[in-house]
Amino acid sequence: MRLRMLDHTADVGFEVEAGSLPALFEGAAKGLLQVMFEGPLEAEPGDEHRLRLEAESLETLLVRWLDELAYLVQTRGEVPLEAEVSLDRTSTGWRLEARLATAPFDRVADRFAGEVKAATYHGLEIKQTGDRYRARVILDV
């Protein structure tokens, strides 16, 4: 998985590249954490949290996934330090199931860099080249 943070004037975001779709989603979670927090998070993951999301397209699923993680951090106070993602096709689109290892926000609050309002759909496209998947995500902060 490769992650490159984008440096635009008005926005922040990242490009993520991975060898599989689940790895792409796991990488995007790391990208979100890099925007939300400064430096490595050294807390030990304590709780386990399971997530299940569905969407009609992979792009919408990626936005939902990032919005869900931002909600977990900012509203529920749970920071997903590790994520294990599986993806399946459904009759109407895609389903994501994730197992998250989280730490309480208070333990990493000093590293918090500021709120993320949402992931945007702007220019969002999940591209496949050979066996590599790539996505570019712009966040509204």
Partner: protein, 478 residues
């Protein structure tokens, strides 16, 4: 995409309709602003052209001089849609921070009254107004039912709890309450996010400033607004917090699903739209109005905290005499009448700037026009402008909303690395209180364009007029 535009007068440029555009696009810029747009390969103008592709757009699609690259709509974008001809509403054209806006208070104090107690007041403001993530006050004790009333009633609900003064509401755009709000159109998750955040500033570019009037350009309008040189003012910039973000997320997703059903071709997904008259369009407008009311209520409650903080710093209510100059939004969609047509005007990072005699102005401002509040950066200044007849004719009664960034957040941080920005600003007479030093570094004065240039172009283009310039004395940030 190549961008072709023609210069119409010194500050007005037109992009003639072409390709999928349904109307022309017009933007206001100086040579300097134009050079900046070029350095971004005109990305924000391409976004403006995309807006002009949406069904039912009443031309031209507009961009204010603080135009910059956004997502979907450019920041600084204004577009009107006619419901009679299939016009659309686009949650992306309102933005995630629904009804984000600015409120200006004027006090009875002068600079010399404040200076001896400046640091003390800065501390009281920082204590009283929750700014950082998760920070909140034990009051207001708000439950879900109370929040539903906030969503229906807006700033008035807050004022009726005793957190406000008679007369506050008159000086808020739309009286601090958008019509048609339906709290039932707001998701449970939005309620969950909104409950703990009423009366909080949030992070990023949101702030609270205590300032003084450094210069008056238009004595007549300044007198109407109660502004005079050396007078202490307070500027509050915040919006609908997580509740608004959630409403936007919910409806953008829903609109993406239904756009094909209405034959709406999206050149950018973030422009997801549905006809104003469709069930989905109506549902969004009802939810958006509810979120807008939350934002009005949020700024009202923060105003109460500001008054409390001044009192804790030793200024009695009759001395600080803090009263509203105006409260306006820079992210919303509102029905207005322009050129005899009832249209839904989207303003994304743009403010309403109604001229003299326009509807919805407080009687005290009817003869001069609506105050337009334009924050700059924390080290320089902000502007108070006034709406003009020109704005009514050229820009659907709209004007600019701020300075716009010139450095990305990470470049700004790099630029100020190793410097103690809080101390530097203190040496220049500005007390900064912030939950995070990183926010201060990201929001450094040099990260922003000089808002004076934006104000100058607004005036040159005739869509607003300078009234006063405000210098910061205290800055509170998340």
């Amino acid at each position: 995409m190549d961008v072709t535009f023609v210069q119409e007068d010194r500050y007005t440029f037109r992009i003639p309709r072409r390709g999928k555009m349904r109307a022309d696009a017009v933007f206001f810029a100086s040579k300097r602003i134009l050079a900046h747009l070029e350095s971004e390969n005109y990305a924000s103008l391409v976004q403006l052209m995309n807006v002009a592709t949406l069904p039912g757009v009443v031309g031209p699609a507009l961009a204010m001089p603080d135009l910059h690259w956004g997502y979907g709509f450019p920041i600084g974008g204004v577009a009107a849609f006619d419901p009679e001809v299939g016009g659309v509403v686009s949650p992306g054209g309102v933005g995630f921070d629904i009804n984000c806006g600015v409120r200006l208070l004027a006090s009875g104090l002068e600079r010399r009254d404040l200076e001896p107690r400046k640091a003390w007041l800065a501390d009281r403001l920082y204590e009283n107004v929750p700014a950082g993530v998760g920070s909140r006050r034990p009051d207001p004790k708000l439950n879900r039912k109370g929040l539903a009333r906030v969503l229906a009633e807006g700033a008035g609900w807050v004022a009726r709890q005793g957190w406000g003064e008679a007369g506050d509401l008159e000086f808020i755009e739309s009286g601090g309450r958008l019509e048609g709000a339906d709290p039932g159109r707001v998701s449970e998750r939005a309620y969950e996010r909104g409950l703990p955040q009423l009366g909080t500033l949030g992070s990023g570019n949101h702030f609270l400033e205590v300032q003084y009037v450094e210069k008056v350009y238009d004595p007549e309008a300044a007198a109407a607004f109660g502004l005079a040189e050396d007078r202490i003012t307070v500027l509050i910039h915040t919006g609908s917090r997580g509740l608004g973000h959630q409403v936007a997320q919910d409806y953008i997703q829903r609109f993406l699903q239904v756009a094909p059903k209405y034959g709406i071709e999206l050149v950018d997904r973030q422009l997801a739209a549905a006809p104003i008259e469709s069930p989905e369009g109506q549902a969004y407008l009802a939810a958006m109005a509810a979120a807008a009311n939350y934002a009005f209520a949020n700024r009202q409650l923060i105003t109460h905290y500001v008054r409390t903080a001044f009192e804790a710093a030793g200024f009695a209510p009759r001395d600080h005499a803090l009263r509203l100059v105006y409260d306006l939004a820079h992210n919303n969609a509102k029905f207005e009448t322009h050129g005899g047509r009832r249209v839904l005007v989207h303003r994304k990072g743009a403010t309403r700037a109604f001229g003299p005699g326009a509807p919805d102005l407080p009687p005290a401002y009817a003869a001069v026009g609506q105050p337009v509040l334009v924050p700059g950066d924390m080290g320089r200044y902000s502007y108070v402008l006034v709406g003009t007849t020109g704005a009514m004719e050229k820009s659907f009664g709209s004007s600019c909303h701020g300075a716009g960034r010139v450095l990305s957040r990470s470049r700004s941080k790099k630029q100020v690395k190793g410097r103690d920005l809080v101390r530097e600003l203190a040496e220049r007479g500005i007390e900064v209180r912030a939950a995070s030093r990183r926010t201060v570094a990201e929001e450094a004065p040099e990260a922003y364009k000089d808002v004076a240039e934006v104000a100058r172009v607004v005036e040159g283009a005739g869509i607003g007029r300078r009234v006063a310039r405000l210098r910061p004395l205290i800055v509170v940030k998340g």
